[in-house]
């Protein structure tokens, strides 16, 4: 039997129902095929220029992110390192955003690399989202310690993730996890939410 490779399948396509069943304690949904571009640039002027091109200023502080709308729709820029950023845009924007960033980084030295297939994205929210994450993540996600826009790279259940706080007051988070770890993390989320499902049913 051969697999049909003409159809694009996201890493968590088989988990849609199981993740949906975690509601209402935890609302989890995969946001598949988002455009993800790894940007490396040290030059502050080039970084500012790329921000202007996207309509979103690049984050200046470690462990933060910015979000905004511009010519390429909603775009998030995540701080990954002192000279490294991850630009996340809609699924069909890859070529456009990549070209715009490449044009903006010149003549400074820098790199724009398409890493869309490296990670998949999970949107988490719900009354127990923070409790579930606390089962496997040491980061303090209380709104006073992790305000909206906080973006950390850390370990969740020993799997490397990028964790973004979308809305601290509403407990809304985005998880970016490597495609090969996605099913493991989905299974872990299902397991970690068991006690909250029981409490609400």
């Amino acid at each position: 039997m051969t697999a049909d490779t003409s159809v694009r399948t996201s890493p968590l396509a088989a988990w849609t129902d199981r993740l949906a069943a975690l509601a209402p304690a935890l609302d989890v949904a995969e946001r598949p095929f988002l455009t993800q571009l790894t940007v490396r640039a040290r030059d502050a002027v080039a970084v500012a220029r790329m921000g202007e091109a996207l309509g979103v200023a690049f984050p200046a502080d470690p462990c933060t992110s910015t979000r905004g709308g511009g010519p390429f729709g909603d775009v998030e820029v995540l701080w990954m390192g002192p000279d490294e950023f991850l630009v996340v845009a809609g699924p069909d924007r890859r070529a456009l955003v990549e070209d715009a960033l490449r044009a903006a980084v010149r003549p400074a030295r820098g790199a724009v690399v398409d890493t869309s297939a490296q990670r998949t994205t999970l949107a988490l929210s719900g009354p127990h989202a923070r409790d579930v994450l606390a089962h496997g993540c040491a980061i303090d996600l209380h709104p006073s310690a992790a305000p909206t826009g906080t973006c950390v790279q850390t370990l969740l259940a020993r799997a490397g993730v990028v964790l973004r706080v979308d809305d601290a007051e509403c407990d809304a988070f985005t998880l970016l996890v490597r495609s090969s770890f996605a099913e493991y993390l989905a299974a872990w989320l299902c397991d970690a939410s068991v006690e909250y499902r029981a409490a609400l049913s």
């Binding site: 470690p62 462990c63 390192g81 950390v152 850390t154 370990l155 020993r158």
Partner: protein
């Protein structure tokens, strides 16, 4: 679990880090001129002090940057952390303990 203060990301759990051995081991200026003994000393010989020790660490599960830390080998207390390229802090600055 011990917290290690990454100079970029702030205090994080020890499990996110990797150890990189002694810091400030300068690469020989003219490696070809070294005798085998001198080369072996550069490659294999490291200090093993009882007390403050400058080490390299990598925040491998976070920002993936290398940095240096002065750790007391007797107590595991991290006396200071500093970014690559920055000079080793003076031991007299021990009051500004970060961990």
């Amino acid at each position: 679990m011990q917290l290690i203060p990454c100079p970029w990301c702030g205090p994080r759990e020890e499990a996110e880090f990797h150890y990189g051995g002694q810091a400030h081991v300068a690469y020989p200026e003219d490696p070809g001129a070294l005798t085998d003994q001198e080369w072996a000393r550069f490659v294999f010989f490291r200090d093993n002090p009882c007390g403050p020790f400058a080490e390299r660490w990598s925040h491998s599960a976070g920002c993936r940057r290398w940095f240096n830390a002065v750790r007391d080998t007797r107590t595991y207390e991290l006396l200071s952390v500093y970014r690559v390229g920055e000079p080793r802090p003076d031991a007299s600055e021990r009051d500004e303990v970060v961990s």
